[in-house]
């Protein structure tokens, strides 16, 4: 495979990969970090400029295919459409911000750290853009492997156990998916191409159990109740930049998989299992919210809050309604932004106080008023207050869920109330009240951190106030997916 760099998808694969290789060979930490920041900013520039070329007449710029395994009819085929553009934008925005946020001297062997992070970015871009099932699987694993090393080398005390569990769990899931991919491949005219997969000759019964194989892989990745128990441990034990990637972007692989590689590919299977998924999603939302209320550790609280939000998105997808699925795509972007922002605040607190236990914290607002203001914005976005980004997505999801069944909408609504309870409770316990012993000498945020927070805040309000461009960008791809489910 040789490169032609005249299209966006190829650049989005190559830039992080080259950045990763260069970072590996850097001697000093600043050099490695600068390389990582530079290449992730270049990737952001590529995604940014691709936003100007969404029209179908620029198809050649947004689509690429190189033959990979001629005998198997598998090729490195990538596409940049409304759905993938949103997720690639999320990936491209998050990585430079995360890199800028990492303090110098925090991680030993920084060149390996930054290299592995860039490799993860390459894997994520590939997963989102792939239109070839085998390549999709390849990048699915490529995104997982660097994270395994990142967490088990730089993680917390119980990192080996938590990371091993995470790896085995997700790997088992993806092996089931591989079985499904091979089965469908044998039912096509002999090609791994997405279109051939969509048109594979499958009976309804086959679709039913193939659904289970793919769903397991995606449900573990998201994670959906009851496949979520790897997640709080992994989030807690991974180094925070990795946690940001895991919860902000990697979990979207599962939701993305549901849309492109499941409900559109196996519409009869999806219809047959609709009730099961809806029940799991709603149970998971309320269940995780209730547990989040009782967490003392901020990282675990955000982890369970994330499970609840992911449950809502899975629910939205399985309404099979245009408005809800569009809402899910926009929510995938906004949840990524919001959860990365929350992790950053948590990381700042842990760096300065050495603890994330809410019972040992309190009164940070007095010592660090600027941080408190940003935290309040991020907390409001997590609750999905109007004018914040999450409101748009949640509103659209809920209107779709309501159209499906008011009862499910009411049940899911409970988790929205609970999210306000635990989020505001955390803000109150950590930021207000008397300054606790641990926060004496707490310093407010520095300029670079402020810059990162301002970017995140602008994203929160921009999407919250003016979601129009996003919605029109997403609409076409979503209707292609949803139309496969209507009338069957």
């Amino acid at each position: 495979m040789y490169a032609a760099f005249d299209n966006f998808p190829a650049l989005l694969i190559w830039l992080p990969l080259v950045g990763a290789l260069l970072s590996f060979f850097m001697r000093s930490e600043t050099a490695a970090k600068n390389v990582a920041v530079l290449f992730s900013l270049l990737a952001l520039g590529v995604v940014g400029s691709s936003l100007l070329y969404v029209d179908s007449k620029y198809q050649a710029l947004n689509q690429v295919s190189y033959v990979w395994l001629p005998g198997l009819e598998s090729s490195f085929a990538f596409i940049l459409d409304g759905l993938t553009r949103t997720l690639c934008l999320l990936t491209a925005v998050s990585f430079p911000l995360i890199f800028l946020f990492i303090p110098v001297g925090k991680y030993k062997q920084p060149h390996v750290f930054y290299g592995l992070m860039m490799l993860t970015q390459c894997g994520l871009m590939g997963v989102f853009m792939a239109t070839d099932a085998l390549v999709f699987y390849l990048f699915w694993e490529l995104a997982l492997i660097p994270v395994y090393f990142l967490s088990s080398i730089w993680g917390g005390e119980k990192r080996i156990r938590a990371t091993f569990k995470f790896f085995i769990y997700t790997f088992v899931g993806s092996l089931f998916m591989l079985i499904g991919i091979i089965y469908i491949y044998l039912k096509t005219s002999g090609s791994f191409n997405l279109i051939n997969f969509y048109n594979a000759a499958l009976t309804h019964q086959e679709e039913g159990w193939l659904f289970a194989l793919f769903f397991l892989a995606f449900a573990i990745k998201m994670p959906l109740f009851p496949f979520h128990t790897w997640q709080p441990d992994a989030y807690e034990q991974s180094p925070t930049p990795v946690t940001m990637v895991l919860s902000g972007i990697m979990v979207k692989m599962g939701l993305f998989g549901l849309m492109r590689w499941l409900i559109a590919m196996l519409p009869h299977g999806a219809k047959a299992h609709q009730t099961m998924v809806v029940v799991l999603a709603v149970i998971g939302m309320i269940y995780a919210s209730l547990i989040a209320m009782r967490q003392d550790n901020i990282k675990r609280l955000i982890a369970y809050s994330s499970i609840a939000h992911i449950g809502l998105m899975a629910l939205g997808i399985f309404t099979f309604q245009q408005v809800a699925v569009t809402g899910v795509v926009i929510q995938m972007f906004t949840h990524g932004v919001n959860v990365v922002a929350l992790w950053m605040v948590a990381d700042l607190i842990e760096r300065q106080t050495g603890t994330l236990s809410m019972s040992a914290l309190g009164g940070i607002a007095k010592k660090a008023p600027n941080l408190a203001i940003f935290m309040l914005v991020f907390a409001f976005a997590n609750i999905a207050l109007p004018l914040t980004n999450a409101f748009v997505g949640e509103f659209m999801i809920f209107s779709g869920v309501y159209a499906m069944s008011p009862w499910w909408a009411a049940a899911a609504g409970i988790s929205i109330i609970l999210s306000a309870v635990y989020t505001l409770n955390m803000v109150k316990n950590v930021f207000y009240g008397e300054a606790a012993a641990a926060v004496q000498g707490f310093m407010d945020i520095r300029p670079l951190q402020s810059f990162v927070f301002v970017v995140l805040t602008v994203l929160i309000f921009f999407v919250g106030v003016y979601p129009g461009p996003f919605l029109s960008m997403i609409a076409e791809t979503v209707s292609l997916i949803v139309n496969k489910l209507t009338g069957i």
């Binding site: 569990k165 085995i168 769990y169 109740f225 009851p226 979520h228 128990t229 790897w230 269940y287 209730l290 547990i291 989040a292 209320m293 009782r294 967490q295 408005v323 569009t326 748009v392 509103f395 659209m396 209107s399 609970l418 106030v465 003016y466 979601p467 129009g468 919605l471 609409a475």
Partner: protein
């Protein structure tokens, strides 16, 4: 300007355009206004008489005034029927269901595999005699199956 109407319909895919807006009759509006004003005036007069010059603070901690002083005990009621049960439920789900049951099943799968591996390992004893014994036993079992078991 082609963008002039962007702001008015920026949420358009989400929110449908408003249908007809209802208007009240003018006479109804005046009547409502008058009623409200009268009520306000009556309240001001009553308050001035009650809490005016010769007002003394009385003990309010009895009967209705105690109920009112405690805001109808609404906070306590919420606490008892909503907050505390939900807290307890959350603690139970987190400690028992999530840690023991859901995670227990996941870890149980891993443990079962490890246990199975440990037990099956014992078969590989390296003693040829036991291998032959197993082989003969299996042969007999298959023979019986072949001869007597008809599906």
């Amino acid at each position: 300007m082609e963008d002039a109407h962007r702001l008015s319909n920026f949420l358009q895919p989400v929110i449908a355009p408003p249908s007809e807006v209802h208007h009240l009759e003018h006479s109804v509006e005046w009547m409502l206004l008058g009623a409200v004003l009268t009520l306000v005036l009556v309240a001001i007069l009553l308050a001035a008489r009650r809490y005016g010059k010769n007002f003394k603070v009385e003990n309010t901690e009895t009967g209705l005034s105690k109920l009112l002083a405690n805001k109808w005990y609404v906070d306590e009621l919420y606490d008892a029927i909503v907050v505390r049960p939900l807290d307890a439920l959350g603690a139970f789900l987190g400690r028992v269901i999530d840690n023991r049951v859901v995670d227990g099943v996941v870890n149980g799968v891993g443990k079962a595999v490890q246990f199975g591996g440990r037990q099956l390992r014992l078969l590989q004893s390296g003693q040829v005699g036991s291998y032959v014994l197993l082989m003969v036993a299996s042969l007999i079992a298959f023979l019986i199956l072949q001869l007597f078991w008809k599906p």
